[in-house]
Amino acid sequence: MLEAILVMALGAVVLGAALGYAAVRFRVEGDPLVEKIDAILPQTQCGQCGFPGCKPYAEAIAKGEAEINQCPPGGDEGIHKLADLLGREFKSLSAEHGIEKPKSVAVIDEQACIGCTLCIQACPVDAIVGAAKQMHTVVAQQCTGCELCLPPCPVNCITMEPIAESVENWKWKYPVFKITPAQKAAV
């Protein structure tokens, strides 16, 4: 009896020591969860989620202060990934935060632009170049399509244009074809 208790106690001490050592030795620096969430978010920095950027929204999700369905640019796929990561239930995109749109870039009508710099100040990723009283233009590669430059423009010369499908970004489709009831009847 005593023997058994001693063995169990010894086991507990050894395992406890091993766990304690592992906790110190393999300590994870920083908050990897926020980083992981941030990696899933599309980095549009549009603020549609109600937070000033993707990182603050990631922090809010990690703290449990925000739902995972507040990011319209990420769409359903992004929500699925967040749900997988956090082990939460999938929720469809919350309507109050916006709708998922095809990926677009801002285009400035250079004829109408008056060079007021307001859009430059609004752009979260500094993708608009130009100077006061000079015509502005959007660097398309860097534009995230956040639409934040639209409201400040006093002459409404900025439009969002969906990114056209080209040979470079064309994708082969998923090859599963559903068997239709008619085919089913045939076989």
Partner: protein
């Protein structure tokens, strides 16, 4: 319209499965010769049950019925069950076995191509655990009268007159009892001529399976890896132990030609769905199955160990596959000129 390639080699799952069934015929012929027509009753029973169960499950799972029903995979499972179960097993034993295989081991895991365990072996393992005595009653060799066999399957079971333990079972029972005088030679009879290698009759059935298996090899439906590794391992392990102590351990010819060893080597371990698939993986998988078979036959409590051995190796198959991937083109670390 489909993308490239625009023409395909004429091959189908159905033709693969039908050729497997055809390859079983020589073994079945030998079976009928030594153990009577009862096996045909069992095959018919198993086939009908399997097709019915398959149809119901396909309907439930909303799959195209005729397409999948005609693929022949249910029939292969059914025939293997019929051939591994005793030919005079009561009808309900076969039916429950087939239902287990088709409903639980196959369709509940996702149907054709998705089952991690060999369905026929799941059925055999379950039934031998649940009904050990029924699963080890074989008709005496040469006692091929059809009427008592029919009765054994469907009616009153007056078995003692017609049954006999299998050679494997007899050997195991004798060696496991306290009778220290029992020896391999004593149990199997001193006459070691052909006709007694795996117990009278069994070696001819095994030879039938061997012929069918070689034909499958020639048809390129199976590769040499699995049968070769299975038989070679069984030969080495049993041969080694038999050299060490021939009175306690039966020799390789007995192990290879008795029970389901030959059937397993060509028709059961070679099941691609639940087995390993890489060339090296196939060797490991079949060798493991053979070693476990010998261990369970020799030290275990059941008359034959093939079912358990294969199920155990099924568990290991994904791991074996993952660790035996063949080197990819250009990744072989021999980029230089070989002259």
């Amino acid at each position: 319209m489909n993308n490239s390639p625009y023409f395909l080699k004429p091959a189908s799952v159905q033709s693969v499965m039908l050729r497997v069934l055809a390859a079983l015929l020589p073994g079945i012929a030998a079976y009928i010769w030594f153990f009577g027509m009862a096996i045909l009753v069992q095959i018919a029973l198993a086939s009908v049950t399997a097709l019915a169960a398959e149809a119901v499950m396909l309907k439930l799972r909303d799959k195209p019925l005729m397409l999948f029903l005609s693929d022949g995979s249910a029939l292969v499972t059914a025939w293997l069950i019929a051939l591994t179960f005793p030919p005079i097993a009561p009808w309900w034993l076969t039916v429950v076995g087939v239902l287990t295989a088709i409903v639980i081991a196959k369709h509940l895991y996702g149907g054709l191509g998705q089952n991690p365990f060999n369905p026929a072996m799941v059925a055999f393992a379950l039934m031998i655990v649940a009904y050990p005595s029924l699963m080890s009653q074989w008709p005496a060799v040469g006692f091929t009268d059809f009427a008592p066999q029919w009765n054994a399957i469907f009616g009153a079971r007056q078995l003692d007159a017609i049954t006999m333990a299998t050679p494997l079972d007899a050997l195991r029972t004798a060696l496991h009892t306290a009778d220290a005088r029992a020896t391999v030679a004593g149990v199997l009879g001193s006459d070691a001529t052909f006709g007694n290698i795996g117990g009278k009759g069994w070696e001819w059935v095994a030879a039938g399976y061997l012929a069918g298996g070689l034909w499958l090899l020639q048809q390129r439906i199976i590769t040499w890896h699995m049968p070769a590794a299975f038989l070679a391992t069984l030969l080495l392990v049993s041969g080694g132990f038999s050299l060490f102590d021939a009175t306690r351990f039966a020799g390789p010819s007995f192990h290879i030609f008795t029970g389901g060893a030959m059937l397993a080597a060509f028709f059961i371990v070679t099941d691609p769905v639940s087995g390993a698939t890489t060339p090296r993986g196939k060797l490991i998988f079949a060798a493991g199955a053979a070693a476990l078979t010998w261990i369970i036959r020799t030290f275990g409590a059941y008359p034959d160990g093939i079912a358990f051995a294969i199920l155990l190796m099924n568990i290991a198959a994904p791991l074996i596959d993952m660790n035996t991937q063949p080197p990819v083109f250009g990744h072989k670390d021999k980029g230089r000129h070989l002259e």
